[in-house]
Symmetry: D2
Subunit: 331 residues, 4 copies
Amino acid sequence: MIRVAVLGAGRIGQIHAANVAANPLAQLVVVADPFPAAGKPLAEKLKCEYTDSPDAAIARDDVDAVVIGTPSDTHAELMLKAARAGKAVLCEKPVDNDLAKADEAIEELNKLKAKVMMAFNRRFDPSNIELRRAIDAGDIGEVRQVIISSRDPGLPPRDYVKHSGGIFRDMAIHDFDMARFLLGEEPVEVYAKASRVVDKALMEEFDDYDTLMVIMQTASGKQCHINCCREASYGYDQRFEILGSTGMLQNDNLRPSTVRRFNAVETEARPPLLNFFLQRYTDAYRNELDAFLKALTDGTPLPTNPWDGRQALRLAEAAIESVATGRSVKV
Amino acid sequence: MIRVAVLGAGRIGQIHAANVAANPLAQLVVVADPFPAAGKPLAEKLKCEYTDSPDAAIARDDVDAVVIGTPSDTHAELMLKAARAGKAVLCEKPVDNDLAKADEAIEELNKLKAKVMMAFNRRFDPSNIELRRAIDAGDIGEVRQVIISSRDPGLPPRDYVKHSGGIFRDMAIHDFDMARFLLGEEPVEVYAKASRVVDKALMEEFDDYDTLMVIMQTASGKQCHINCCREASYGYDQRFEILGSTGMLQNDNLRPSTVRRFNAVETEARPPLLNFFLQRYTDAYRNELDAFLKALTDGTPLPTNPWDGRQALRLAEAAIESVATGRSVKV
Amino acid sequence: MIRVAVLGAGRIGQIHAANVAANPLAQLVVVADPFPAAGKPLAEKLKCEYTDSPDAAIARDDVDAVVIGTPSDTHAELMLKAARAGKAVLCEKPVDNDLAKADEAIEELNKLKAKVMMAFNRRFDPSNIELRRAIDAGDIGEVRQVIISSRDPGLPPRDYVKHSGGIFRDMAIHDFDMARFLLGEEPVEVYAKASRVVDKALMEEFDDYDTLMVIMQTASGKQCHINCCREASYGYDQRFEILGSTGMLQNDNLRPSTVRRFNAVETEARPPLLNFFLQRYTDAYRNELDAFLKALTDGTPLPTNPWDGRQALRLAEAAIESVATGRSVKV
Amino acid sequence: MIRVAVLGAGRIGQIHAANVAANPLAQLVVVADPFPAAGKPLAEKLKCEYTDSPDAAIARDDVDAVVIGTPSDTHAELMLKAARAGKAVLCEKPVDNDLAKADEAIEELNKLKAKVMMAFNRRFDPSNIELRRAIDAGDIGEVRQVIISSRDPGLPPRDYVKHSGGIFRDMAIHDFDMARFLLGEEPVEVYAKASRVVDKALMEEFDDYDTLMVIMQTASGKQCHINCCREASYGYDQRFEILGSTGMLQNDNLRPSTVRRFNAVETEARPPLLNFFLQRYTDAYRNELDAFLKALTDGTPLPTNPWDGRQALRLAEAAIESVATGRSVKV
């Protein structure tokens, strides 16, 4: 039984805490959040302790592993604290929004031989697991092109945009990680183009973009395209397509039911997509935690690590540079 | 080159005549129709002769084969005349709406060793050909159940209903033929239930039904279900499903385009189905004629024969009897 | 908080017990099963008490509601005991495999004004809820035909067949209930035909069938077809289609992932269906319990009742009679 | 009745000639091809005259319109000759593989006020027509992103690669045209990346590529992605996706039948795609010719013109420059 502290009682912390409480390999010991209004009710509901101090939660002797779901700018520091205290870590992306700081943190984590897993939830979605498994099994031969379509159901609130770090670091970073996951090779060149077609005024205010396209290529010539938009009227759109030398794979989105409607104006009309990531990736979050706990229990390598977080961020940075210069950027 | 006369210049005759004219194995010699207003323009358009006398068309020395697309009650007589004159025949269903008369005609046709093919167009639809081929290839093992859904886009005009012979003989007869085609065995027992839920008054006036369900079983225990309705708001619905011991097959309907729409209320909405049989079975009519001409050219057996027409009618009669008695009927 | 006893620790009892334990409206007090080897580990895992006596569990003062997942022939008696003790009941189908005994039990339950819900899990599947909601909302106008396809992934073990009560009472009973649920009217006439095409010897030994088709009709002329087979190579197949006067609805099956494969021999190939009811109806079992608990909490009517169980059984009995006589049976 | 000469009796010329012969608005007068072995049989089959001289065919008094399906490097000259002779022209893409020569030709065509239509067949595919119609009808609001996937079923022969002008001018040029057609705005910036993952040696020999990705953006910020590959194991893949502010549109590919297969390893498996453009775009070629003839008959503007051909070529040139420089190119 792995004894777990969950840091952060916000939207994502609540998901992790509930999954820990329900997982037979784990015991939820404590939830830590500076705001008692968020942390206390969560702790009560899940019948564990509450503290307003993440440091205190990390320091507890009866905590073996720490799940970090706090704001991005605290990730690096909390990971290091937990690692220094000998705790295993499951940390939300990014390592840090600043690449240099992320690299520094990773260097120390490596020295500490820390057991740190980055929470790239999409890798643990049942369909994405199956995509990777089919590629590994040789079902489509050599991968040639990967197409990633990734669209949010609607613009985030103004305040979120302000602190997000920009669409590349906040939204596309998941897609950069999936690109690496599906290509099976590191991209060596990145080109990106971004525009403001959803809310021009808002995006100009924060020097951000709401719509983007990316092309990446690996050393052996494999290609990957990413397209993102902050708004899709029909729901949270998350699709992957992998063209291989002997076959092709696609996943589809999830919907609340399998009903199809037929009438005088249309046929086979299906419901809109599940609206956002908490609904869409419910199984993925559960599988992710389970993979973390199983690897710790079995002593096997963690499925992702801070280097994965760093590389996704590096690709996002290259994309930002590419938008600014109109050139592809070597990475 | 097979020289062809087309009898009947109505809706179905026009289809046949155009297909004959375009087929490289055939030459369209003459179109016959008692009504010059129908026959003359067709003959002009297709650059062939016109006569108001089907008998005269049959009698011509420069005619090798006759395609019969005249009213149902003339089929038996015209087939016999053509057969006696040594002409090959492609005849629309039914042999006759009266089973005894049909049997009589078939007896003489057999004695004459006439080359007669019944125009069950659905057997020649590319998807239905593929269903039969896959069954024959053993792709689904032994056939166990066949489900046929067959719905017209809307009620026919009052006058059509009056002369149709009833929903079983007019509409379901195609499904009875497809049941035999897909089962690969003769049904030995038929149960049918019919109701009036589309237009009660109209159906009561002509002692007819607009909605029906059938169950049939073969000697070895294979089962077939047919459901028909005279009205489907979403178009002309024609589906087949075959459950076998090692697999299952389904076809889908045809639509005017492959476009799918996504918006805030629905996703993957496709267009309504092609509206009726002339549009839906364009390829099937062409393939049907081609199969007729190829068999004549190659001297191979015709793919369907009057017995097929007789058996479909026999199943329709059994269904009508079953509706009247509430019992299943042995055939 | 509703305090719950779960009777039966077999396959279905385990599902119910876990759902009770996880539901915020309920507290799992005790699991009862005559076999400690089944009941004890379940109670330990879910941190509740264990007893080998269902009667004792029912009698407890700290139990408000009883979930019955015991063998079919104990349902009626346990429901009555619980009702007499003033407990609310969620009971697996059937009320009893004997219609007369079921009627007797229902009579007493009615006199007791007992709060009893029959566990027709399929009514609580998200897609089936949506089908009913869309019909109620008038999305397809008047219902005209309902088509139910219901196939198990494979033959049950010999011993199960022996005690099942036959394919109509054991398997098709769920479909009879769904027919009533989707038609929104009572069928007044039933015709059924059954055969032995999966395992003839086994079925003859127990005078049972492995394959069946049913037609039912309501007083107003609405029709319903059911087809069942004990074996479907591609998984547990559960489909519903409802033809209405202005539209049509279909549901689709569930699969473990949304991946589609393309290669030189096929395109859009999807995975086999979820294999059986525990996987397929995971959400339905959870929703079913939730509906039970919510109705008790809010004091609203339970969504199903013993009469629903009785009517489904009545239709199964009529189907059995129809198979024996070759006639449709009035109900 | 428009009297037509078809220049070129190769693969594409045969399609055009047969469509002219079957179109009620046209009369096929003559087929011209320097190789009698190609031209003569075609003329015989379609019952028209044959000449080995395209110039002679253009010069005939009884020819109103010329369809050009000859090698690319003859297009500009033949268009000019036909235009100078006052004939209407339907010409295969490109205007010329050299942009300067194309511009020169267009200048003269404009001075002549010639009636010239470029044969961008994909614009006339029923599904693509419906995509454009839906956009024009406002069904998806403002267009934001267009995704074009375009893959050939297999590598062309070595000799074809040698003379093709390269993948951008030969293959992607159709996609550049569709980008303009679907965006409804001119792209102002092009970035492209190309690689050799299908047949490295062959591509290096001719300094060509077999796999590419493109990003384009319009002045208002609309984006378009194109991905191409010379080989797709599952058939000729031609998909379009248009994300708008209030909805999204997709088309799907065509298959020889609508059959879906279910078995123990997969469900809903559909056949491979129609293998190549002559099969895939049969309807499009017919519609294209029909649009040409209707516009001539009605005196309305031709739906495409040489400028469209020039612009697609311009985008291809920009893409080639972008691959060479690693920069996006302004157009």
